[in-house]
Amino acid sequence: MTKKILSLVLALIMVTACIAGCTGDEAVKNENKVIIGSTTDLSGDFRFPGWGGSSAGASDQDVNGLTVGYSTMETNQGGAYVWNNTAVKSHTESEDADGNLVITIEINEGLKFSDGTDVKAVNYLAYILAFSSPVVKSAEHPGMAGQAMVGFEAFTGYQGDVDYAKVKADAKAAAKKAAQEAATAEKPFDEATWDAAWEAKYVEPAKEFSGVRLLGDYKFSLTISAAKGYYPYYFASTYGAVSPYPMNFIFGDGVEIKDDGKGAYLTGNWYEKDGDTYKKGAHVAAARYDVSTYAFSGPYVIKEWDQATKQCTLEINPNFAGNFEGQKPSIKTIVYTKIVQETQLDQFKTGQVDILSGITGGADTQAALAAVDESNGKFAEVHYQRAGYGKLQFECDFGPTMFQSVRQAVAYVLNTAEFASAFTGGYGTVIYGPYSPDFDMWKAVGDKISLIDYSFSVENAKKALVDGGWIYNSKGEAFVEGQSGVDAVRYKKLTAEEAAVLDGVNKNYTSVENTDGVEYKTVKVGEDYYMPLVINWFGTTNNDVTDMLAARLVGTDNVKALGMVVRSSVGDFDKLLGEIYRMPSYGYGGTPTYGMFNLATGWNSAIYDYAFNWSLDPAYFDYSSNKLYDEYDKAYPYYDAEGNHTKKSYADAVAASGDKLGMDYLSMAMVYDATTADEYNQWWQAYIERWNELMPDVPLYSNYYYDVYNAKIENFKTSPFWSPVDALLYCTIANVAE
């Protein structure tokens, strides 16, 4: 009997599964629908992916991109910000008496949200005002949306109708209590110091956000602060890129935006508190994940978000008036679903998904292209070069890699063309600088840029080293090739300044992972220090690039022939970050050890801005991944000794510096001195050329990304800056069943 029951249960499950399968398959055929597969998790954070931070999930951003529209500025196919004429009737940019940039925007009448309500100026100001106020901080949002605008500090400090003397007293009491708990006899709580610090940073709170103005039903302005360094700035206009949101979504009930002439402000119960907690904080936190109650402004609305299966179904928003080109969608339904990297192509081939994007790597690309080739026209592909690259990143403030000659030698001796080909399976290329051929800047000045060709050449590598002073052995005598032990490598005599960097770290520079029994270290001969040409390299585990680099750099004949040794260490990515940013909490031991790391970088933003990344000021250490302090900048700095800068044209700056403009100068001038695209491109060209000369990274490969798709999708065109969800707006489905 038991056997019979078991057999029955088994048979029932199999049969129901098959029936469900068959009927399920029939239900999705020939519809005006596209299924996008993504290996990145969807989290449901579609309204504000990342919640004001920089760590938004790619899939969440895609869904957000489909549901948010009418932004005053949008990015075009080339990744540049352009004004959205569908939403914006007119805009002006002018300077006020204080040198701030005033961006005045008038939007078109007749724009509607998905629920049919009108889009007005208040909808554009809602996000800036709400997400600059302290209320959203109670919902774990940074509350910095209006940071670049005049009056932000006063507005963000406004907590409603409260006694600000009491606020100060409470803050003081809390600080005093905390300080007393941690106080030592040497460092007691000092009331006067605290008072002075409070006064120094205290800004009188204001209900009005003076840099945000509501000028009419369809008109508003934003004032970008010059005093805080947000203007002049080449990309300052992009602070005018704001999106509209329904009032009830942002504020809940009972809040209005008004302007009595001193700036926009929030009325009603926005600042109402329950004890120490803002009541509206709960609304903000809940609305963040609410995709069913409130309207959308974009080409699509979320019809269903299934948290359990990580699947989001979107349907066309009939009220959407178009993107910056007036383009409206025609595909009725888009389903965004999580897929598995290992079996994604099988899902694609069996029709479970219609689009796979970003396929890269030799084997995967070949498999995807084979699927397209063998499909008899059922599938198609589009590809583009990634806006970014895998790289060897150098630490440029200590050890051998602080010298340009060594970095160049590594670039020459590592056959990057062969590496790129091997790693990408032939679906990649080599670049010699931080650029993408799809950049507008590259398109404008690419043919004028003069770059050093770092093609494989042991001779060029050797020459770079000899020219760089790597001509000694461990006794301070002339280096002779073919020696063993510590004299197998070249040494460089350090100047007093070079020896003294980072409290003398170079004087004690030592090789790690000395598995061959040879330990190389800086030697002192007489009064001089000689540093060995040994690079301590750190790579991440379970990483093909690490393995391939080890095969090409560690103990190979070419590297040996140079008189160079590369020592390899591996660990997890956090350890790598800890070493780069020298954070003890990530396992950094207190002394910089590794001069070289392998990782990757990319440019997804329309804003190419590397200002402060090459600063000589130690305060900007966290922004400097290479710690490269350009000699040219020391001789001709961007800021003078008093911290002032006189803006010059590129030609004048070149002349004044003796044609020696450094990385810091160029990166700063590029965004803070340039005012036109031509000027920007001129600075950008010089920046790329100087970068290529100094080689703070060795770009290893820039792979091609392949997007494969079902050929029923017509007019599907993507680029590194134009994702499948952007492209779908322009697509149609062939032979749609009515």
């Binding site: 129901t16 359990a308 069996t350 479970q352």
Partner: protein, 339 residues
């Protein structure tokens, strides 16, 4: 019995506390700085003001209690010490925050737990439904041709890693003979409800279910067979047969009961295991289950999620042991606890 259970619950509490301290310490020792990771998002915002960036970092350290020593943080996690001025730990109903998912931990575990239980219940019932009769059959026909075939098959099945099994079945049943979908949990874009939804879920769960069931056949079948073989050779069984009892009564009433003690441990363990997801199966088939969330959280160093999950499994494990001990008594009066 009541006293025994209470005493055991007391032990459970002590073991839980000891393990929680050890686990917390282990994760605290991993070189990772949550405040540093969180402050990264302010890098662009404070690009012109590095001192504010540093101040924000220190503020986050304080907020997360990272300025306190590890024992204070542990007590804070339990809710016995204030972190940043407030008591907000497990005792207050705050089970932590997932920085990977940007939500309270408790909120992100609901759906994966449901999915995991859903598939595990089917897999467990199916596996037990097949292996127990199969094991008994093999024991009764020990040494026969059919037993040899089943033993060979179960050894092969037992030896093949789950991921290989999964790949083979995907190729076989999703690509070569496309009965099931390759992966996923529902038909894309469908908005089925009721029975139709259940059928759709079963359709998508079918292949992982097959793989999970087949993967678990080998071990349990052999276990039941060994246990039953031993039971069938007992004197009491010979006596029962000598008494002229029917073979079914001998096997299922007398032998099976004697074979139960070792099997109970496994069977209850399996049922307790329905709360824990299979990292391998869930990853290969794209199932949003506990295994998936566990491995994602570990990779993302989302330790508050990992810690809570591990503590949950510690509780399940400890309570499971208690249930197993009680079950022993039910199955075999000789080991029943009367005090």
């Amino acid at each position: 019995m009541g006293k025994y259970v209470l005493k055991r619950l007391g032990y459970v509490l002590v073991v839980f506390l000891i393990l929680s301290i050890l686990m917390y310490l282990v994760y605290a020792m991993i070189p990772y700085d949550r405040a540093r990771a969180e402050v990264e998002q302010y890098k662009t915002v404070y690009k012109n003001e590095p001192e504010k960036f540093e101040a924000k970092y220190q503020e986050l350290r304080k907020e997360l209690g990272l300025d306190q020593n590890v024992f204070v943080r542990y007590l804070g996690w339990l809710g016995l010490a204030p972190i940043n001025g407030t008591y907000q730990g497990i005792l207050q109903g705050d089970f932590g925050y997932s920085y990977e998912y940007n939500r309270p931990v408790i909120e992100i575990l609901g759906e994966p737990m449901r999915n995991t239980i859903f598939i595990n219940i089917f897999a467990t019932i199916l596996a037990l439904g097949i292996t127990i009769p199969l094991g008994i059959f093999c024991a009764r026909h020990r040494g026969g041709k059919r037993d040899t075939i089943i033993q060979t098959a179960t050894i092969i099945g037992y030896s093949i890693p789950t991921f290989i099994m999964a790949i083979v079945f995907i190729w076989l049943l999703a690509i070569l003979i496309p009965i099931f979908p390759v992966s996923g949990m529902k038909t894309a874009g469908s908005n089925f409800t009721g029975v139709r939804q259940l059928l759709d879920e079963l359709y998508h769960m079918g292949l992982p279910l097959v793989v999970m069931t087949v993967s678990s056949l080998g071990g349990m079948t052999r276990y039941v067979r060994a246990s039953m073989t031993e039971a069938l050779s007992m004197d009491c069984i010979r006596t029962a047969r000598a008494k002229g009892l029917r073979e079914k009564v001998v096997v299922y009433s007398h032998a099976w009961r004697n074979a139960l003690i070792p099997i109970i441990t496994l069977v209850i363990g399996w049922f307790l295991g329905i709360f824990s997801g299979s990292i391998m199966i869930e990853n290969i088939f794209g199932l949003n289950g506990m295994g998936q969330i566990y491995i994602n959280s570990l990779n993302a160093k989302d330790f508050e999620v990992v810690l809570l999950l591990q503590m949950f499994y510690v509780i399940i494990g400890l309570l499971g042991n208690l249930v197993i001990d009680i079950a022993y008594g039910i199955a075999d009066p000789r080991v029943r606890v009367n005090k």
